[in-house]
């Protein structure tokens, strides 16, 4: 761990390690949630495209 020209605060540096699991985990969940949402959105878009083609 490198130090900076500003006072980073020892406690602040260690704290990021402590909360890393929580915020990192939440971030992963968020990414997967977006992936799932996008997957269904893409499927919906494909369905509506094919329906439009059939109607035409």
């Amino acid at each position: 761990m490198l130090l900076a020209y500003i006072d980073a605060g020892s406690g602040s540096l260690i704290f990021q390690f402590v909360i890393g699991g929580i915020v990192g985990g939440l971030f992963c969940l968020k990414l997967y949630w977006h992936k799932i949402k996008n997957f269904f959105k893409a499927n919906d878009a494909k369905k509506s495209d094919s329906q439009n083609k059939v109607e035409k």
Binding site: A4, A8, S10, S12, L13, F15, Q16, G20, V23
Partner: protein
């Protein structure tokens, strides 16, 4: 060649700023060479310039300058039309500056770089658009490293925003707390409800406790965090900042123009007079004192003048900023003219006073002098002296004692203002 050091540029050993006549130059020391090369070669600089998020610069090669110490490079950043400070910003200005800092940090991270500091003073505004101005803030990311500017970010942005949401007046605390509001102070002001917000619980309460509890030693120095944890922290900070919203509050001047004494006709006449005067003088820079919602500032801006719309009222500045975010040539600023921003920081010169940031071609003091003369007992010659230090020309309006607004100012005080008449004016 006379080089004048920018007095607030001394903390970061990577380089510093100085003026050479009208030019602003930034010397880069050899210690920053690798980081600068990475910034320029990784595509990060080009990306941030294209998105207008970072101040553009050119490399300065025209002559060698007599500078002390080793020099790697000299760059010439674009000059910001008006330098402002976080203690002069409204809530949304500080919030936008915070979000810009986080956005830049995320973009930097995707290119293998991080911000080594997250000072609110690294952001300035061009019109109502926040711009990151510290080109030397970027450094190479070392895998496993934590964000060393995390505490500074929370002190400069998160804590002040949370407190300003409670009460606008907390923003003036940034004048005395030059490195931001300590988390310890903030957490005691926020109250028990803040424990139920994950962001506030983590980044203010627990963070503050950790600052008091933990100390680095040989084993904790070796701690490393994953990229996901790093990004997760940035994401959590972004969500927390975005969730801080201003409650609707009424202030003295928040709805000023809906309760004035002007008839539509007289207001239009005032607009015409102001427009004609501006056209006649064609100023490049205008300070609109007591600008309220910036109605007349916009007229000046339309004439091509870069206009600073100053007002004492936090909510008026907030409304003005939000209404003009997409416009050019206007920048709202919170300023108490009876106590304008003094020089602050080391030697009282690290952050410039309002007067040092003048003088401009033109000032506007519309429906203002009665407040200065009556509410603040300022003699006309004092008022004239102040304006003459700020601007070369002034559009000034006199409101007579017969006006109901002036009568209102006088109703709770003795009328000792015998000189308050058009002749003395």
């Amino acid at each position: 060649m006379i080089l004048e050091k920018v007095k607030g540029s001394f903390r970061d050993p990577s380089g510093h700023l100085f003026y050479k006549k009208e030019k602003l130059l930034r010397v880069i020391r050899p210690i920053y060479k690798n980081h600068y090369e990475k910034l320029m070669e990784s595509g990060l600089y080009d990306q941030l310039i294209t998105e207008k998020k970072l101040i553009p610069h050119q490399e300065y090669k025209s002559e060698t300058l007599s500078l002390s110490g080793e020099v790697y490079k000299i760059i010439e950043p674009e000059i910001i039309p008006f330098v402002s400070y976080p203690y002069e910003w409204c809530f949304s200005q500080l919030k936008d500056a915070a979000l810009l800092t986080l956005e830049i940090q995320k973009k930097a991270f995707s290119k293998g770089m991080v911000l080594k500091d997250a000072s609110a003073y690294n952001v300035q505004f061009v019109d109502c658009r926040p711009v990151f101005i510290d080109t030397l803030s970027f450094e190479e990311y070392k895998p496993g490293d934590v964000w060393r500017a995390y505490k500074q970010f929370c002190q400069h942005f998160l804590a002040p925003l949370l407190l300003m949401r409670k009460d606008f007046r907390f923003s003036s605390m940034l004048k005395s707390e030059i490195d931001g509001i300590s988390l310890d102070f903030a957490r005691h002001q926020l109250g028990w409800k803040s424990y139920f917000s994950l962001g506030q619980l983590l980044h203010i309460h627990l963070h503050s406790m950790a600052l008091n509890k933990y100390k680095l030693n040989e084993s904790t120095r070796q701690l490393k965090i994953s990229k996901n944890a790093f990004l997760g922290n940035l994401d959590s900070l972004t969500n927390t900042i975005k969730s801080i919203k201003l409650k609707k509050k009424k202030t003295q001047w928040g709805d000023y123009y809906s309760i004035t004494n002007y008839t539509d006709e007289s207001f239009k006449h005032k607009e015409t007079v102001v427009r004609d005067m501006l056209q006649h003088s064609n100023p490049k820079k205008v300070w609109d004192f007591g600008a309220n919602n910036g109605h007349f500032s916009k007229i000046a801006a339309k004439q091509g003048a870069y206009t600073i719309a100053m007002d004492i009222d936090y909510l008026a500045v907030e409304k003005n900023y939000l209404a003009n975010k997409t416009k050019t040539g206007i920048f709202p600023l919170q300023m108490n003219l009876c106590n304008p921003t003094p020089g602050l920081g080391w030697n009282n010169s690290e952050r410039e006073s309002l007067m040092e940031r003048g003088k401009v071609d033109m000032g506007m003091a519309l429906a203002l002098t009665h407040h200065l003369a009556i509410s603040n007992n300022l003699p006309f010659d004092y008022i004239a002296d102040f304006f003459s230090q700020c601007c070369d020309k002034l559009i000034v309006e006199f409101i007579p004692k017969s006006d109901s607004k002036v009568r209102f100012l006088l109703h709770s005080r003795e009328d000792v203002y015998n000189d308050y008449n058009i002749d003395s004016f």
